[in-house]
């Protein structure tokens, strides 16, 4: 959760009065709120934390960081299935209504 990951803005739209974007994190695409960086445009990079763009980043820095995070498995840690990760960490059993994704994002 602490991790803030650089991502590239794919497109921007106003949704119910809130500025939102789809952002590509090295292949994983997420919805991101741009209210704190409202002038961010498609093609630009930003540091994104828990679905919010917090600061602009230049392309080269963003690409280098993303490559490093991917090599270290940190993108999997950030965007992988948290229930599987928690189960692997050693809980007694899988939850009975286990699903394969953070269902609330659907």
């Amino acid at each position: 959760m602490c991790l803030a990951v650089p991502g590239r803005v794919l497109d921007v739209e106003d949704r119910d009065g809130t500025r939102m974007a789809t952002v590509d994190f090295g292949g994983v695409v997420k919805e991101v709120c741009l209210e704190y960086l409202p002038d961010l445009k498609a093609g630009e990079y930003a540091i994104v934390h828990v679905g919010f763009a917090l600061q602009r980043l230049d392309e080269e820095s963003a690409r280098r960081t993303l490559e490093l995070f991917e090599n270290l498995g940190m993108l999997q840690e950030e965007f992988g299935d948290p229930w599987e990760q928690a189960a692997a960490q050693g809980a007694a059993q899988q939850p009975p209504h286990h699903t394969t994704a953070p269902e609330a994002q659907q």
Partner: protein
């Protein structure tokens, strides 16, 4: 030097290390505040590559670790209610409360959901108007603005079945508390880069001056850490104590003004208990009176909780930099990621978890990731 080839730019890493070696003349103790930085340091063996005069002490910068047991227990109680959908970030699932964790609450029928963003929890509230949706709002200055925006949106959209269980913490008062401890050995700080991406740097000059400590804003990649150490050691050797920005690509002096304005609107500063450390004055945020209706502690009766900390857990000393994880008797024996005594062993940002994952059972053990370690969330 054995592992320097693992750095993204080994030549630059070597040059930074050469500069540090050429600069240092006596022992210095530096604290990295952020748990993400701790993991980078241990994963890459940066502490072992540095000259022996430079000691890195791990600070309290893991929000999962410092969330007090009482708040975890409140979360567990609220999450157990049949009328509640409890939403959380994934790394809170295995943090032990008194006797159980959120993962187990879900296993016994609680509707616990993991979200990537707090806005996802708000969407759950819109989709389930007949249920109460509670989001577990923990984290430092980096996470607080997203949570603040979510509460602001809930009010703007008139969503009434949403509330926040708040346990936000602030870094500067923690630095102050560490420096005021009679056992403190810290002579300089590597400040957490992404906290400063939001807050900027104005909170630090006063601390640097008051305690005579250099504070260098530092990023999270291995080369960022080396550069932060290099600048810090240079200041220490010169007898300087200023605030320096070694992470300018992500930190502007003013931070993110829009995020800071939202924090000021939605939250107000309050005293906050840190797990293992105790109450630090002005070290947290709570919802301001305008947003009190969205405070889960007001909406649900969760008073009268009796907490029970495991006596053997010394995470408080670890979080204050007074003890290295492997110096704890329980480390790796009665306390492992599979069966943790405290949050520092559970959290992916926790110092104990970093030492366990990278086999730091002894000081001289190389920082190689263990190939088949149980429950490894990384690598």
């Amino acid at each position: 030097m054995k592992y320097i080839e693992e750095f993204q730019d080994p030549d630059l890493a070597e040059r930074l290390l050469d500069d540090i070696r050429a600069t240092v003349t006596r022992p210095w103790a530096l604290m990295e505040v952020c748990g993400g930085q701790t993991h980078t340091i241990i994963r890459h063996g940066i502490d072992q590559l540095l000259p022996e005069e430079v000691e890195l002490i791990h600070g309290p910068g893991c929000p999962v670790c410092v969330t007090p047991l009482e708040v975890i227990d409140k979360a567990l109680e609220i999450a157990s209610r049949p009328d509640v959908i409890f939403c959380s970030f994934g790394d809170m699932l295995r943090v032990p409360g008194t006797g159980r964790d959120l993962f187990q609450v879900r296993g016994t029928g609680g509707d616990v959901r993991v979200v990537y963003s707090p806005l996802d929890a708000l969407r759950v509230a819109q989709q389930n108007p007949d249920r109460q949706v509670v989001f577990f709002g923990i984290g430092f200055e980096t996470t607080a603005p997203p949570n603040a925006m979510t509460v602001y949106q809930a009010r703007k959209l008139g969503i009434r079945n949403f509330s926040l269980l708040v346990s936000h913490v602030r870094v500067p008062p923690a630095i102050e508390a560490i420096m005021q401890s009679p056992d403190c050995r810290v002579q300089a700080f590597l400040a957490a880069g992404h906290v400063c991406s939001v807050m900027g740097m104005d909170e630090y000059p006063g601390l640097a001056e008051r305690f005579g400590v250099p504070i260098v804003v530092t990023g999270f990649e291995p080369l960022d850490i080396l550069e932060g150490v290099r600048r810090t050691v240079r200041q220490l050797e010169r007898g300087e104590h200023t605030v320096d920005n070694a992470y300018p690509r992500a930190v502007r002096p003013e931070g993110n003004p829009a995020a800071r304005a939202m924090l000021d609107d939605v939250f107000e500063v309050t005293d906050r208990a840190w797990r293992g450390i105790g109450v630090i004055p002005d070290s947290g945020w709570r919802l301001s009176s305008r947003y009190r209706d969205y405070d889960a502690e007001h909406r649900f009766a969760v008073d009268g909780i009796t907490t029970r900390e495991p006596a053997a857990c010394r995470s408080g000393e670890v979080l204050q930099g007074l003890l290295k994880p492997h110096e704890c008797e329980a480390f790796g024996t009665t306390c492992t990621p599979r069966s943790p005594l405290g949050a520092t062993m559970v959290s992916s940002e926790g110092a104990c978890a970093a030492y366990y994952l990278y086999r730091r059972l002894e000081l001289n053990t190389p920082a190689r990731p263990a190939a088949s370690l149980e429950g490894s969330p990384v690598v």
